[in-house]
Symmetry: C2
Subunit: 621 residues, 2 copies
């Protein structure tokens, strides 16, 4: 019996005892972050699947895992032999979780129709939606006050206790006190006097603090409760130095123990409180709801205002200091990328020139997905203010690049050959900014299909770069620009086209996105957004080209204010795979202009050899 089977057996024992027909493990934690501390990786514990998005569901006789197209191939691999069936989200015929549980219960004549989920680890909106869906399907009910992992997960990692540090004003650009004032003003407009903040990046942004509790994301586990007069940070106080505590006090923020947030919420409640139901977990949401009373018409008000947290949008609009920091971070990242790309070119050339066809260089050395990732990380780490990677590097060679969020392991690690395409999606956390870039690089001769796919992706990328739009347009409206060229060839990608990027914070920042699904958040000047179309041909190749863009003013007219994008990322885009005839004159012009910009910005910081390489890489098409 393998580890997963044992865990399922343990879980089913708990389920039997608790009269549960099924248990649901989302990928989320009490703070609804995309990346979660190990303590809350319950879905990975129970299923073995380690992607950033996925939901595991276990019934008494079966188990299934829902994930999106980024992880189809990876999940298939990881779930093999675990007893978990892969459910591909957004594909025809994939049942919803509620449909599947209901069908399983019917099939096995389940003696109960109660389903479990840990109310602490799902957002209020997700649980409320789930309750509705389960009710529709055979009248299933949901229990939210049980965490079976407490009983079955031996050696469960503790909630991290890493120290918290101040994020200096020279990088943040706005003091905690000023941010709190802006937040209170925004709350007032929403008829609320306070709010409970649970999103770790929102808390870090508000307080100008950073931590290392989450892999690659400089946040710390805490809650922040704001009222009109006070603010309280709920956090394990071993994480705070006396300096940080007195800094917080000076900014008007008190400190209490992490667990005391429940009591804080209960005691606090003398006026309307805003809870973002997408951010606050169901357990805390219920605490607040249970305290609702009175009627605002009578003047005695004590309501939960369920709206999007105003901090989400505030945080995405960068101030001048943050923008300057992002430019600095992008410059350093570009230098490291150029050093890496030059090294890679030379290494692959040496392999190509050797006798061996096994991917060994003239000196017998070989490079692989993992080794190039390490090389790149070491070059980034040498840059000033480097703190960590901003996510685990995705280095996919050949068919591996078709696995959208592929992560090489020693078992899968492919040796690079002097042909085909290497996809490299990577980024770093610098004190002054966060980076996120994808390049797809020719290792040598390419097939016509590889070239054509590469050029289609590049066309899509450039069309987004060229886009102008009225202030307030949504990312959904812009998304097609990245896809129109590939759609004409009957190709597509199922992930979004772009997301916001934080300032020494999360590499994925909302609520705005470029994607096909409706994302109403208006695009405004000062936001960052990535531009990363791709095409993935299973078993053959994958291409993605990504820059991080800044939204900047374009022009004003009788029709209002218009915006455009400016590339923050400074790194050449490989020209070798391009089928030049497929580009329009305007697209060619953009690429040449971009490459001139890259050369002009980076060359003063490079050695003569590096400059020589870059000048070739940036030569006009």
């Amino acid at each position: 019996m393998n580890a997963i089977s044992q865990r399922l057996e343990d879980l089913r024992e708990v389920m039997q005892r608790e009269h549960l027909a099924a248990f649901i493990f989302p990928s989320t934690d009490p703070h609804q972050g995309e990346y979660v501390p190990d303590h809350w990786k319950g879905r990975e514990f129970i299923s073995g699947f380690n992607g950033s998005a996925g939901t595991a569901v276990v019934t008494m006789h079966s188990a299934a895992l829902w994930t999106d197209s980024r992880y189809f191939l990876a999940a298939e691999e990881q779930l093999r032999g675990t007893g978990f069936q892969l459910m591909k989200l957004k594909m025809e015929g994939t049942p919803t979780i509620a449909e599947w549980i209901n069908a399983q219960c019917a099939l096995h004549h389940a003696p109960t129709t109660e389903v479990g989920i840990d109310g602490w680890c799902s957002s209020a909106s997700a649980v409320k939606e789930l309750i509705g869906e389960l009710r529709k399907e055979g009248g299933l009910t949901l229990r939210t006050n049980l965490d079976p992992l407490q009983q079955i997960w031996t050696g469960r990692p503790a909630i991290p206790l890493h120290p918290v540090e101040q994020h200096p004003l020279q990088y943040a650009g706005e003091s905690c006190r000023e941010k709190l004032a802006r937040i209170r003003q925004a709350l007032h407009q929403r008829h609320a006097d306070g709010m409970l903040m649970a999103a770790l990046d929102d808390i870090a942004w508000t307080l100008n603090l950073r931590g290392t509790d989450v892999h690659c994301t400089p946040v710390f586990v805490a809650y922040l409760l704001i009222s009109s007069a006070t603010a309280t940070l709920y956090i394990n106080n071993v994480k705070l130095t006396p300096e940080v505590i007195s800094y917080l006090k000076a900014e008007g923020v008190g400190v209490d123990a992490y667990e005391n947030v429940v009591r804080g919420l209960k005691d606090y409640f003398e006026s309307n409180i805003l809870l973002d139901p997408d951010e606050v977990n169901y357990a805390l949401y219920q605490v607040a709801k249970s305290k609702e009373k009175g009627d605002w018409r009578t003047g005695v008000s004590c309501k939960v205002v369920e709206e999007e947290s105003p901090v989400k949008r505030m945080k995405t609009v960068k101030n001048a200091t943050e923008i300057a920091g992002l430019r600095s971070a992008m410059l350093k990242d570009g230098i490291a990328m150029v050093q890496f790309l030059k090294w890679l070119d030379e290494t692959i050339a040496s392999i190509a020139n050797s006798d061996s066809s096994l991917g060994h260089g003239v000196d017998g050395a070989s490079v692989s997905e993992l080794s190039v990732s390490e090389k790149l990380a070491s070059l980034r780490a040498a840059q000033p203010l480097f703190r960590s990677l901003s996510f685990d590097t995705i280095a996919g060679y050949g068919p591996h690049a078709a696995i959208v969020h592929y992560e090489a392991t020693p078992e899968t690690d492919a040796v690079l050959q002097p042909h085909g395409l290497l996809l490299l999606d990577c980024g770093a956390q610098y004190l002054d900014g966060t980076t996120d870039i994808t390049r797809t690089i020719a290792m040598g001769p390419l097939t016509d299909e590889e070239k054509s796919v590469y050029t289609l992706v590049l066309k899509g990328h450039i069309q987004v770069e060229l886009c102008c739009f009225p202030s307030g347009a949504s990312g959904t409206q812009l998304d097609i620009l990245a896809r129109q060229a590939m759609w004409r060839e009957g190709m597509n990608y199922l992930h979004g086209t772009g997301h916001g990027v934080g300032s020494y914070l999360s590499v994925h920042e909302g609520p705005h996105q470029l994607r096909m699904e409706w994302k109403p958040a208006p695009l405004v000047a000062g936001m960052t957004v990535t531009d990363e179309p791709g095409i993935y041909l299973a078993g053959r190749c994958g291409v993605r080209i990504e820059n991080t863009l800044l939204i900047v003013p374009y022009k004003e007219s009788e029709f209002g204010r218009f915006l455009q994008f400016e590339s923050l990322t400074l790194c050449p885009i490989d020209k070798r795979p391009i089928i030049t005839d497929m580009l329009t004159a305007e697209e060619r012009q953009w690429l040449n202009d971009y490459h001139r910009l890259v050369f002009d910005r980076l060359s003063p910081h490079l050695s003569a050899d590096e400059c020589e390489w870059l000048s070739q890489a940036c030569a006009p098409l």
Copy 2:
């Protein structure tokens, strides 16, 4: 005192008696159609504003009318001197109706906080939303069971009693019986056994019947109540011939009096019933809700299923017969348009060649917005199977074209001069199909601005024509293609880019649309959609170019099925205003290909003179 002032005084007397602080008059009727019979034009009666969309609100001391950008200029004109303030929807600073009422009540210390609306003339969803908004704003409440127009509208037109006629299978392509079977199957999938249909075009489509109760739209006033075993048409039976009654009986549809729908709904209710809250009015919705009982878990079910009517989407996907009919209608419409455009060219040339600068031809004749509309209507009327126009022709010359839904009146009627642009948006109802086309035509020399704006609109139009997309994409995703070129020049239009078109039915057919706002309805093969970007420069000029398109298969790949557009409209696009250099090679190619198609399809049906004119109009750019 003018008529509107008198009506407001009468209304306020009723409001005072009924203790109402405000009364709201939407543009809708009990059937939620875009165009309504005169009987329900209460908003026009009370405000004088006759646009197709707008909401009038009257308080004891003030009055205001909300409408969208299509009608800003027209409404300003029509509301002058009425005491109504114009509220421009989607413009910064425009209050919501609830905000405005609340502010007015506060300003004038209104002794009551109750607002009135006629529950028969607003959809259930609109009223429910309004209730929420009013409650938020100062705790206003809503009363829905009063129609003050019954007391103050002397000479109110009766509900029309025009005869209903069968729409033969040779045009409909699917029998009523077959449609009912498909509807029942769709209802079953939505856990409903029956539905109440209130949308007049849905009823006409389902029953293969047509009428003339609504201006330019071949529908008749009725409700249709469908259960698993029966179907009942609620209609004033003077409208039905014995033949139609026996036809209906043969198709499994009974008939009852229009007013009896309330009783029918009450009696019917032995199982789940689907009511589309966007379609069914609040009064009938409440009748159904009051009958809800039981719990589906117990098996005794009697619920209102609130979902989009399945008929909406069914109707938009045309069958082979309807598509053939649309092609035939478009051919006839194209012939009439070519005859008209040739006549217009010659007439304007004669005016240009005359001595007069007053718009008179050599023979002393002049043409105006109204006279060209009449000429065009007479040419369309000469075509086989012509029944009526599909909407009132919009003929706007010069600055009038900037008024998006301008309708010339004898007072505004502009004489055409041999320069500038004439915008002509028009269409017809033929027994075999409905048409909708806009052309903007050069009357002679143009300014650089006119040419540039025309070319930007054409570029947008062509980009939509060229678009390919995955089956199921939404119109929101495609909309930007029509705007990207003009956005780069800081221009825009605030209306949608396209809408469905019926088959001898409504010229505006949903639920799919091309527009910036979120319209999730998936685009699938067999749907019609217009492509009509525009630019409007107030006081200067307006341009719109519209074809009606059919969604057809494009290609299939490992990424699924892809679709494309095919132009159904057959009419040359004026080349004289085009700045050729602004078009891409692909855009030029599209225009030349389209013009070749127009010539090939129309020329066999034209006289030698007409062919000669068309051959010039369709010559390659």
